[in-house]
Amino acid sequence: MNLEFDEQDEAFRSEVRDWLATHAPRDWSDWMSASREQVMAWEQTLAQKGWLAPGWPTEYGGPGWTTTQRYIWDEECARINAPRPSIFGHVMCGPVIMAFGTDQQKAEHLPPIANGTRIWCQGYSEPGAGSDLASLKTRADRDGDDYVVNGQKIWTTWAHKADWIFCLVRTSREGRPQEGVSFLLIDLNTSGIEIRPIHTIDGEHHLNEVFFRDVRVPMANRVGEEGQGWTIAKFLLNHERSSVGGSSGSKVALAQLKGLIDSDPALRDNPAWGKRLADLEIDLLALEYTNLRALEKARSGESPGSMPSVLKLQGTEIQQALSELRVEMGGYASLPWKADPVGEPAFATATQIYNFGRAFTIYGGSSEVQKNIMAKFALGL
């Protein structure tokens, strides 16, 4: 057991650092608020280097990195606040297709993800269903070689900027509710799809409702068997949780807040601010090592157990605590709403970040659901 980086690792770090210095965008850092054009340009730049999908094996266009190399990559991105690519393609849909897809699906969908030429979004939640995925109502009825899809998805991040959506749909009403669920890939240009914006309490448009009215989807776009959707969803939730809990965004926020404390005498002279931040840095350090332990397990082929839930739960709590701290550090400077900065620019968006951050413990399986899952699977209750 050791924490040393060998010579090769250090060489890799230099390469990453140099490359990021010349290639990473400077004018934006968060794909959620960026434009489609910005995100695609950056993803294609990453793709040309072969670094768009750090977790992918080389056969599908991934870099085939070791655990250590992925760790270094994360560190270097966080260091300069380089934007991360959107997660729906390479973190979520891609691995599902690798694990459950047909050769044809792999051929059709993996290259555009690896190239950064196709943007995906995720159609899971439905109105009134919250974290209860098994109760979903969107129907896909067979008609010849197609499914005919009717229903509604909600909280669909980036649907208005995406090309394709992967969906859980109900293909049968028999058996236990989970058993009748299938996993479909749907081109958002298909007729019968309507996308309506949802404005969130940060005053922005990240989320959407997606309506399906008699949307025809070829059966060839179903991933896995009919009724296997629930299994795929669980596989995918684990992927999502690990990445949602990822600590690099929090590291960036932390470094920024540290700088603000150091530069503002009113904050620096009251050690309470520094201690709150130090406390969060320590929490984040624990999370980072939990993340490394999970990566280690993945590398050695072990099941990650309940670690994805731990990462999701703690990672989102740290994100929220950091955003709360940012608002409070701002004081009066946090009060103006969507205005030119009053004082430090970092405080101008503090309340927006804090507001939208409330969603982190709700989506992707709420904190309560994560605890239910851990009670069952980690503690056998």
Partner: protein, 390 residues
Amino acid sequence: MDLSYSEEQVMLQDSVRRFLGDHYGFETCRRILQSGPGYSPEIWEQFAQMQWLALPFEENDGGLGYGVTELCLLMEEMGRALCVEPVLANVVLAGQLLAMLGTAEQKQRWLTPLIEGRQQISLAHAELPGRFDLAHCRLQAERLEGGFCLSGHKSVVLNGPNADGFVVLARSGGGARDASGLSLFLVPADAPGVIRRDYAIHGGGTGCELTLDQVRLGADALLGAEGGAFETLEAVLDLATVASCAEAFGAMQALLDKTLEYLKTRKQFGVPLASLQVLQHRLVDMYVDIEQSRSMVLMATLRLEGEDAAERRRAASACKAFVHKTSKRLAQQAVQLHGGIGVTEELDIGHYFRRLTAFGSLFGDREHHLERYLGLWQGRQKDELLRQAV
């Protein structure tokens, strides 16, 4: 000692609640928020007609002569209804300073129209580098022949965009953080050299950055004694702090009511969410926070009715430190318990959440007031030292 409301107080609260219930639904509120001035001139006129803007002023000044209790009951109901009308800025901040320090002429010129709803005034006291330290002031007042010249900058002037005039805190002597040497001036919004940058305030209402570029004022612009503004300013901000806690307390009650209602009707995994023990205990935590906050606001209200300045300071800071803590966790919990719908613009929950977030930073946050409270304990409070020195 008597802890129950008088019949008159109960009636006042009921009438405010009834009026706002009838005229101030969430849709009204959203419409007003999206309107130009960020408040409703019609509603404001009705407030004036019902003499709510006159509540805490003396009868001599055209007020109703009510106390802190009545003011806080009004604020509590405004919080419950998510009402954004600028009562705090006009009636409490600028209004109280005028009432306490104004000459007959100044009151005639500024306070009477304020009470009658014909004119609005904002207090401009904060500068960012001072954070919440009231004594911190760099905006300079220079004595000129027959008057003063003011130059400098103020941040986050509440309701500034709607103000016909400003009460401006300026330094007429001493160093940047001295409690002595502070003076207040009445500055018409249209005086040459007054520059505003307007914006909306998170959670409702408006504010502005105010720059005074060599604004020349007559001698009659001085409000109160030259160099002696600190004590009155502090007293008024303590009152504003407690009044805003009462408002927050009203919003907290609305959030619990709405969350309770939502969880009773909303089903997930086949059962009403309110039947899940984990969520029940969360709701109980909210309930306990509300009962305790009620006690805290009551305590502060009663202590502010008294004359003792040290008690007033302790009470205001204790109240804010406590209600900031409880309101923050209650608002977070309300959103969490609502799930996805809780973070959308279309539901009132998110708007209450924003209001309570903004409340946290107004007039000093929990950290500031805990520090001040501790300072009062340890006898290190700046103005105590000042008073000993005088």
